[in-house]
Symmetry: C2
Subunit: 308 residues, 2 copies
């Protein structure tokens, strides 16, 4: 009987589930809502029920589960977005999925986005990869020799919380100031634009708006709005600086830039590359840096990658 | 016949060679001078000759060689301190050591110091380890799952060149400004002391000296000299900040602090730990941070570790 990998990506609103063949080709995918009631105690049961409803258990080779929050050695340490505290996910999953011969693995969602891109996306064929996911916040994922690096406290790859900005010192949700996230996420780009609008007298289409999104900043920058361009240059510079610090630590084969902000494509990538070499040119001249290609599906691909 | 591991550490002045049993117990060690004439072309021949003169080739299980400069996949990319450019070390070593069944491996000396501490020093038993070697400069070494991380360009673990100081912006030998090395090495501690002496009116025993070493700054700090204490606090803060950035990347089980500066022992370590938690306390509360224990022998231990 043909076997399949199941990749699950648990988000704060919905849970994505994907069925993949053993080569990683997506066969079908679907969503179920995330039930956060009672500290999310039904989430794993809902996932098990949904999978067993859709797929004959004898066809399942393994199930990978991505969760928001730090994970180390199979334990989610603090799944605050979905109501979880510390939890041994695979052990609890087997209560609802009584097939102990089927491998269950769990990891952090941002790590799995990186693994997903390596499995079937723009990182295919690479083994030493670092990904920055620039969304509302900034997630990070790291693969060394094809293995996800979680860290002893599940904190590895928390690249969004490197404190790299010593100028604006914007407050981060994590409690610290100046984290990568405060100046390179979608929120961070809006932060930088607001600062620049208040500190500069330069004309800008952004001045006519009461509020605006990072996408709007990109749109105006692409149309030649000088102030908007300066904002994107500054955000790219901060990201490039964070990447330079990671380079001096891991010197990966490949950097992947993902998340909603990366939809800006080459317009963003070219600026990141320019600033990156400003920081590392004496050491490196040929770094591969690419935009992610799997979008929101990267998590389910990465979850499946864990059990392939 | 009993077998032995050979660890070689090539320095700019001398080459250390150690003979270890398979458990990593040092049996004997000796030095030969580093002949840098003609771009160091005799170095590998000298090593091979010296080993074969001391040890029966049938007793050699493997030879590990540490070199100053970036190494990736067996190639030294730029061994500038010993006159080498790009070189396939093991291939060339076999010209002088015609025993192809005996494994030869090469890596960067700072990476091997870390591996050595993991093999037989203060990192024994750990697998995910980051080491800062605070000497005249600052070297770094990284082990993930027990394996040395070299990076695609051999730049992994170049922690001394993370540009972390945005205040003093001291020129580094690498061409950049504000590298970890400029504010945490022995030279960096003297740099910080000179800056503080010129910017502060505070009394200090350091003022009576025309020139001084990092050791002198530590000695006076231990005697209660306030300005000297401030210098050590500042250097410790910079190192702790660099460690926090590495934590958000790799979250290792253990940090090891080595090199001559680490001879200051707990006086330094306590300050590093205090500043480290200032940066990471929201994520981590139980990080292991220790002082290295093998001193200048770490390199030969690490070289032997590669071939065990």
């Amino acid at each position: 009987m043909k076997k399949y990998l199941i990749g699950v990506d648990v988000g704060g609103t919905s849970i994505k589930i994907g069925q993949f063949d053993l080569e990683g080709i997506l066969q079908q995918k679907w969503d179920i809502p995330t039930n956060k009631l009672h500290n999310g105690e039904n989430i794993l049961k809902d996932i098990a029920t949904s999978i067993l409803h859709k797929i004959d258990v004898q066809m399942i080779s393994g199930i990978g589960i991505g969760v928001p929050g730090p994970v180390s050695n199979g334990y989610v340490l603090n799944g605050v977005n979905i109501g979880w505290g510390r939890k041994n996910v695979s052990e609890e999953f087997y209560h609802h999925f009584p097939y102990p011969h089927i491998q269950i693995r769990v990891s952090n969602d941002a790590n799995l986005a990186c693994a997903g891109e390596v499995f079937q996306g723009s990182g295919k064929g690479y083994k030493d990869v670092v990904m920055f996911t620039l969304g509302t916040g900034v997630g990070g994922g790291i693969l060394v020799d094809g293995q996800i690096v979680e860290g002893i406290n599940g904190v590895a790859g928390e690249l969004g919380h490197m404190q790299i900005d010593h100028v604006h010192q914007i407050q981060c949700n994590c409690g610290k100031k100046g984290c990568t996230e405060t100046v390179t996420s979608a929120t961070g780009i809006v932060n930088l634009a607001k600062i620049k609008l208040s500190q500069s007298n330069k004309q800008s289409m952004l001045r006519s708006l009461d509020s605006f999104s990072a996408k709007r900043v990109f749109d105006y920058a692409k149309q030649g709005d000088e102030l908007a361009i300066e904002v994107i240059e500054e955000a790219s510079d901060y990201l490039a600086y964070a990447m330079s610090l990671v380079t001096l630590t891991l010197n990966p084969e490949l950097f992947i830039i993902g998340g909603g902000v990366s939809n800006a494509g080459d317009f963003l990538l070219d600026k990141i590359i320019k600033h990156y070499y400003h920081y590392v040119s004496s050491l490196i001249t040929n770094q591969k840096i690419v935009i992610a290609s799997l979008g929101n599906d990267a998590g389910i691909y990465g979850a499946a990658y864990m059990v392939k």
